[in-house]
Structures are given as C-alpha cells and as structure tokens.
C-alpha cells in the first residue's frame, strides 16, 4: 500500500533521515519507534506532504506521491494526527471534525448540507468516545480529549491509511490503555491501515503486529515485537539502557 | 557613460555607509524587540527638521544642534516604546505593525502642521572633490566616514559591555535572558533609545546632502526595509553588506534611468527576496 524508497532528508547539512526504505501492506498495524530525534516525525511529515524529501520517493497504491501538497495526499486517503494536537481553536469541536468531512477524501463525497455533515462528524466523535455538544470549544478539552479530537478529525477525512503521531503522550496510565484500544478498533472495525509513532513503547509493543525502529535517521530493525525486542542494535540504541 | 556609472557606484558606496547605519537601527529593534518599526524613517525626518529649526531659525552651531537632535530622537524612541510598543508587546504582530503605521500618519502630519509642505534645507555648502574625471561630494565622504565610525563604536558596545551582551542575548531568547537576570524591559528601552539616536545621527549626516519635507521619511523606511530584508531580518552583518549593494544598485540605476525607476527596482528586489528567501539572501548570521 505504502512504499518508501530511499528517503533522505537534510536540515542544513544535518541528516534527519538517511536512505529510509519501508513497505507497509494494506491492513497492517505498524509501530514506528526510536529514541528522541531519530526522525519519526520527520518521516510522517514527508509522507503527509508537509516536508519534501531531499531524495527518495514515496509511493502510495503504486502511485508516486512524492512532493504533492498535503491536501492532495489527504484526498488520496492518507490522514494524520499531530504530535502536539493542533485543533482549530476558534472553531467548535464539532466544526473541527466537520472540516474533515467537508474537505477530506473526495471519493466518498457527502452532498453538502450542514445537517448531513454534522451527523457525519458526530459519528466519528462517538467512535473515538468524545461526547461534546454544539458549543464545546477545543480549549475546554483536556489532553485525552484533544487526542480524541485529533483522531476524530483525521478519521473524518475517510482515510485508508492513518499516520498516528504519539497518540499517547501526556496521558496517564488508565488513559493510555483506552487510547491505544481506540487505535486497535480503528484498524479492526474500520479496516484502516495504521502506522503509529510512539515513544511509550510498552503500550505499543502489546498492540502492533510489526515494529520498525529508527535510530539517527536509519532503520535499524523491522520485525515482530518479539523479534525487535531481542535485536542487539535496538537494545543498544534504546531499550537496553532503559531497563 | 562608463565613467558616469563608476562615479554613481562610488556615490552608492558612500551612501551605503549611512544606509547601513539606518538599517542597523531598524534591524536591532527587530532583532531585540521583535517588532517591525514602520515609522523608522519618519524619525529621520523629525530629526532633520529639528536640526533645521536649531541651526537656521535659532542659529545654534550645526554640531551642537546635531547632538541635541540625537538625544531628542533617543527620547522619542523611548517614548515610542513606552506609549506604543510596550502596551502591544503581547498583541498579535499585525496590531503592532498597524499601530506603528499609525505613527507614520501622526509624525508626517505633525510635520505638515508645523512646517508646511515646503522643502527645507540647511544652507551649508561643502566642496566637491575632483579626482580625475570623478566627482565626490565632500559631504558624502564625511557622512560615509562618520557612519563607519558609528558602526564601529556600536560593534564595540554590543561585544564588549555587559549591557551589549544582554542585548544580544535578549535578541536570541528573551525568556532565558530574563532568567539570567536581564531586565528585558530595560533592554527594550535601551534598544529603542539606541535606534532613535541612530536616526538622529543619520539625520545629522544627511543635512548637508538633502532637503527635507514631511513625506521625506517614508523613502528611508522603505530603503531600510529593503536592506534589512535583503540581509536577513535580525542579521546585523547581512544588513551591513546589503546596505552597500542597495546603495550601488539604486545610485547606478538612477543614473541610467530615473530616480523613480531606481526606486521601483529596489522595491522589486524587496518583493522577490520576501517571496523567495525571507530569511535573507546572505546566509550568514552574526550579532
């Protein structure tokens, strides 16, 4: 479904990503981990079109999407959430999600009527378990609420592939389990392929089927959670010092 | 024709020195207070009028009236900070921009009310040097050397004193400068005072060269903007270099075409740089 071919990205001479090649199949639930500054978010920014790679290509459903604008990529069916939630603060929570419905993936276009769009938006808000009313503004939500809003807005664009960026950061233990179960349900019930970046590795390892590890902008491991946690280089770079 | 161009280029370099001084002040204010001082050129205009009033109407010697003007402009800078900039420090950038643009209207029309729309100049005739086929105005030469000296002193101030260091630190990260014990409010006042004083100095150097009228300032604001943007906003070294580039480009193109076309060319450069590389074309950074 998604294929990265030799992606590199430099910031003023510093390499954030070096020759990264990854393949993700339809229906997979992939975790992407790595220490701080290893290039995870940069990779997401490149896939979603916010950044252009210095070299390499991004292929999606066999089509070259390198360097397309983010809105174009969203229309093709790739949605993302942001590491630091970026709600539109002057729009209500429902309006935030309605934007996704209105401007998202065109293939399943809903005829424009305020009511239709609102119902559609509420559907996604319900799915992620965020119950709000008409007038709730994003700044009234807490950390968990904002994460849910991010997910609902991304889902509202009706993606085939979801890039989830640190959905768990800022949450406490109870909230962790719940938020990660939502991700699982998105994959299982909606059939959306997910790539999940996370720095809370414990929660991720329990859920995903495959883990890719980045370190200093390079892929150092790719395999099932059990394989990866046994990998020498991963332990060296990451897990080893933790325990 | 070729000689004319060379001569224009030389004049451009001489002019560039003063422009560098002007741009330095704008740049310093932008770098430290993070504010685009829209009414900066109008300070020069007011300084010019002040010198005019003191020398021509009150018969104060030029040097002394220049010094008075420099101090007065520093005070005006402080007042601007106190009355306009400080209340808007946490406001959206555009509100700051528009309030300072409001100052343009106030200053220009105030000058109009007091001095009317006539051109005023100081009757001071300095010799023109002939070197071979080239003509260099002595007043330009003085302005150039004076500007370079001022810039040198500014460099020493910024690099050798505690307060200079605090200014440079504040430019990079106000919040951390504060927790280092820097009183940022004081630093802002010092910066605006220094920026104001610089416009006074520029006015003093320009008195023998130009005549003044109420709308005299805006062309200097625009010129200073162009230089600052070309060199990269907040980049003092870049501003210094691009002052000479702009000085040469405008005076050479003024000789080849007309003064308006020269201004149009400068504006086009400005727009292009803003579009393509708002961080400036000179990729160096130094404070």
């Amino acid at each position: 479904m998604l294929e990265l071919r030799g992606i590199s990205r430099y910031f003023g001479g510093l390499a954030a990503l070096k020759d990264v090649s990854i393949k993700v199949e339809k229906g997979e639930f992939v975790g992407l981990i790595g220490p701080n500054g290893s290039g995870k978010t940069t990779l997401f920014n490149i896939i979603s079109g916010v950044l252009k790679p210095s070299s390499g290509r991004v292929l999606y459903m066999g089509r070259d999407i390198t360097g397309l604008n983010p809105n174009k990529i969203c229309h093709l069916g790739i949605a993302r959430t942001f590491q630091i939630p970026r709600p539109f603060k002057n729009l209500s929570v429902i309006e935030n999600v309605m934007l996704g419905v209105l401007f998202g993936n065109f293939e399943q276009f809903v005829p424009y009527s305020e009511e239709n769009v609102k119902q559609e938006a509420l559907k996604y808000l319900n799915f992620v378990g965020l119950r709000v009313d008409e007038s709730t503004m994003p700044d009234e939500l807490t950390a968990v609420g904002l994460r849910r809003l991010e997910l609902a807005r991304a889902l509202a664009t009706r993606p085939a592939l979801l890039l989830a960026d640190e959905v768990l950061s800022g949450l406490n233990k109870e909230e962790l389990a719940e938020a990660s179960s939502i991700l699982k349900r998105i994959r299982d019930e909606m059939g959306i392929t997910i790539i999940w970046v996370e720095h809370i590795i414990g929660a991720l390892m329990n859920l995903v089927e495959r883990v890719i590890v980045l370190d200093y902008g390079e892929v150092i491991a790719d395999g099932s959670p059990t394989e990866v946690s046994k990998d020498e280089r991963v332990i060296e770079a990451y897990l080893g010092e933790e325990s | 024709m070729f000689e004319q161009i060379i001569n224009a280029a030389i004049n451009g370099i001489l002019l560039g020195g003063v422009l560098a001084l002007l741009a330095f002040g704008l740049n310093l204010i932008f770098g430290v207070v993070k504010i685009i001082h829209m009414a900066y050129g109008q300070f020069v205009m007011l300084g010019f009028y002040l010198i005019y009033v003191l020398t021509v109407q009150l018969h104060v010697p030029l040097i002394i009236s220049s010094l008075i003007a420099i101090c007065a402009m520093a005070v005006l800078g402080i007042l601007t900070q106190l009355l306009v900039i400080e209340p808007l420090l946490d406001a959206p950038r555009l509100n700051q921009l528009l309030a300072l643009a409001g100052l343009i209207i106030v200053f220009e029309n105030l000058a109009m009310v007091i001095w009317g729309a006539d051109y005023r100049g100081i009757p001071l005739y300095l010799p023109i040097l002939h070197i071979g086929n080239f003509y260099i105005r002595f007043s330009c030469l003085i302005a150039f050397l004076g500007a370079l000296m001022t810039l040198g002193l500014l460099y020493l101030f910024l690099h050798k004193t505690y307060i200079g260091l605090a200014i440079r630190a504040t430019a990079q990260d106000v919040e951390i400068a504060k927790v280092m014990g820097v009183n940022s409010r004081l630093i802002y006042f010092v910066t605006l005072a220094a920026g104001g004083a610089l416009t006074g100095i520029v006015a003093a150097f320009f008195t023998p060269i130009y005549t003044v009228h109420p709308h005299f300032g805006s062309s200097f604001t625009i010129m200073a903007f162009i230089i600052v943007v070309l060199g990269g906003m907040g980049n003092l070294l870049g501003g210094f270099i691009s002052a000479f580039i702009i000085g040469i480009v405008t005076s050479v193109s003024a000789v080849l075409t007309t003064a308006e076309v020269a201004d149009i060319i400068a504006l086009l450069i400005f727009i292009l740089v803003m579009l393509v590389r708002p961080q400036g074309i000179l990729g160096v950074r130094g404070t």
């Binding site: - | 209207i105 029309n109 803003m274």
Partner: protein
C-alpha cells in the same frame, strides 16, 4: 436585536431612511459626505473579506489605483465607456492580485510578511503611475474628460446618482459577505487563518481558497477605485494608490472591527465624519491636524480595543451569554473527563 424579526425590521427601517435621505437632506453637502462614506465603506468591506481571515493586505491601494487608472485612461484616450472599462480595470486589479497572491501563497508568505510584501506592491504601483507621467500625468494627477450628463459614460450632472450607486455597491458587498459566510469557503478560510498545516492535512486546498478570496477582494476594490475616481473626476497617485491610501483602507476596517460585517462600514463612517468635522471646524488653518488626531485615535484604539469599536461593543453585549455557555460547558467537561 432580540429576534431575527426585530433585526430585519430595524434593517429595513435604516434602508428606507437611507433611500429617502437625499430628498430630505437639508444640504447637498451631507449627501456628499454620505456618498464618500458609502464608497470607502464599500472599499474597506472588500478589504476585510481578506483581512478577517488573517490575510492582512497593506497594499490595497495597488488595486484601487489600477482599477481607477485603467478605466479612466481607457476613457480619456479610447473613449471607452467606464461601465465597460470598469470591468477591464477591476480585472486588471484582480490579475495583479492573482499573480501576487499565487507567488505569496506558493512560497508560504503569511502574516506580517504578507503585509509587508503587499505594502511594497502598493508603493510599486504608485511609483509606476508616477514614472509613466507622460500618460498618467504623474504626481500632478489628471482629470477625467467632462461630458456633462452622460449616464452611459458614468457621468451624472446630478451627484445624487452617485449616492444611490455607491449605496448599491455597499449593499452588494455586504450581501456577498453574508453569502461567503454561508459557504464552504468560509469554513476553509477560517481553518487556514488559524493553522495552515493542520488545514491542509484535513484536505483543504490552501492556495485555492486564499486565491479565490484575494481575487474577489481585489476585483471589488478595483471597482471601488473607479467609483471614487468617477465621482470626484480627478485621479492622483497619492489619493488612489501608495502607502497612505493602502494604510487608510485597513485602518477604517480595523477601527470598526474587521471580523464583523458591519465593522468596516461603521469604522469608515466614524473616520470620514471625524475628518470632515475637523476640516470644517479648523478650516485650512492647520492642514494635517485632522490626520494627526486620526492617527492618535487609531493607535489608542488598536491598543485598547484590538477587536475594533463595533467588534468590542458587540462582544460586550453578548458577553453574559458567552460566559454562561462556557460555564455550563466546564461542568460538562468534568463529565467527559471523569465519566469514562
């Protein structure tokens, strides 16, 4: 404004009053002032189309000048009726806006950078008009050929026609504002104004919407230039283009409050009245004193009422409801947090 019904009746009343105003007015001078208010209110409303979405242009003088000059030059030199010339003039303004907008949006020039670029463009157009002095008359300006009463050539011996005409234009601009508010575009532009990256990641085509609103705004402003030039039958680069006009337009809108559809109109009414009042009471003794007062008023207003006069008043009026709403929600927020 208790109910839509009362509000509609109130609007209708004002409409009727404005329509019969010229007949009832004690002096043509008042009609003249009202006409000026309509024209500038129309222009600053057109400006606020962009401004309220964070696209603050300080170069609308460019569009005003191009609209006016192209139309007037076509009339003076080729005898083309300003009714047709106006479309060409406004299209030229829109074309410049399209080129400028595309360049800015392509390279991601936003916020105060956008303001500075447009400021430069406004000045550029003014300088070009001066530089082309052989055709445009340069700084001295030029006068539109007088045909007496020639409605087909946008000239009326009775200035009352201009009153009604500019009134219609203003009503049209306000109507368009409402239409935009009900469209999908308004939602997109609000999102873009807040966070471009997030907006594009939910599929909003940033360049398309920003271009659309910029072109609409420039086209209407271009027509505004024609309206003003035809009314006073004289063009000058300093009154139609350049920094001063370019700043005066947004100032009017901001003074009233650019986020509300009535803001620009109210701001314009205030400034034009203030200018006229000072001019009449002090005459020509202190040329410029009214501008000084206006400049100071502006700075004070930006500092103390950043949402503009009308915007702030309106906010205060609904403030109580607003609070209650938020309070109610805070309670519910607890439910959202703890309930699950």
């Amino acid at each position: 404004m208790k109910s839509p019904w009362v509000k509609k009746l109130f609007l209708l009343l004002i409409l009727v009053l404005l329509v019969i105003f010229p007949a009832a007015s004690p002096s043509p001078y008042l009609v003249h002032i009202m006409t000026l208010i309509f024209i500038w209110a129309y222009i600053s409303t057109a400006w606020a189309y962009m401004g309220r979405f964070g696209l603050v242009s300080l170069g609308h003088g460019a569009f005003l000048g191009i609209g006016a000059y192209v139309t007037a030059l076509l009339f003076n030199y080729f005898n083309l009726s300003p009714w047709i010339g106006m479309l060409i003039g406004a299209s030229s303004a829109a074309f410049l806006a399209a080129v400028l907008g595309y360049a800015c949006f392509r390279f991601g020039v936003i916020g105060d950078y956008f303001a500075l670029v447009t400021l430069a463009v406004g000045e550029l157009v003014a300088l070009s008009i001066i530089a082309l002095r052989d055709t445009t008359g340069g700084s001295l300006g030029f006068t539109i050929r007088n045909l007496g009463n020639a409605p087909l050539y946008f000239q009326f011996s009775n200035k009352v026609y201009f009153y009604y005409l500019s009134f219609l234009f203003l009503v049209f601009a306000l109507y368009l504002w409402v239409r935009i508010d009900k469209s999908k575009m308004q939602k997109a532009l609000r999102a873009i104004g807040e966070d471009e990256i997030a907006a594009s990641s939910v599929g909003i085509n940033i360049i398309k919407y920003k271009m659309t609103i910029t072109i609409i705004s420039a086209f209407l402003t271009g027509i505004g230039g024609v309206l003003y030039a035809q009314y006073i039958t004289y063009l000058n680069p300093h009154t139609l283009s350049g920094v001063e006009v370019s700043l005066a337009i947004p100032f009017k809108a901001i003074l009233g409050g650019m986020f509300d559809m009535w803001g620009p109109t109210i701001g314009t009414a205030m400034i034009v009245s203030l200018e006229e009042y000072i001019r009449v009471s002090y005459g020509t003794k202190f040329i410029g004193i009214s501008e000084v007062a206006y400049g100071i008023a502006l700075i004070v207003l930006i500092i103390f009422l950043p949402k503009g006069l009308y915007g702030t008043l309106k906010e205060m009026k609904i403030f109580k409801n607003e609070r209650r709403r938020q309070y109610g929600c805070n309670k519910r927020k607890e439910v959202i947090l703890r309930g699950r």
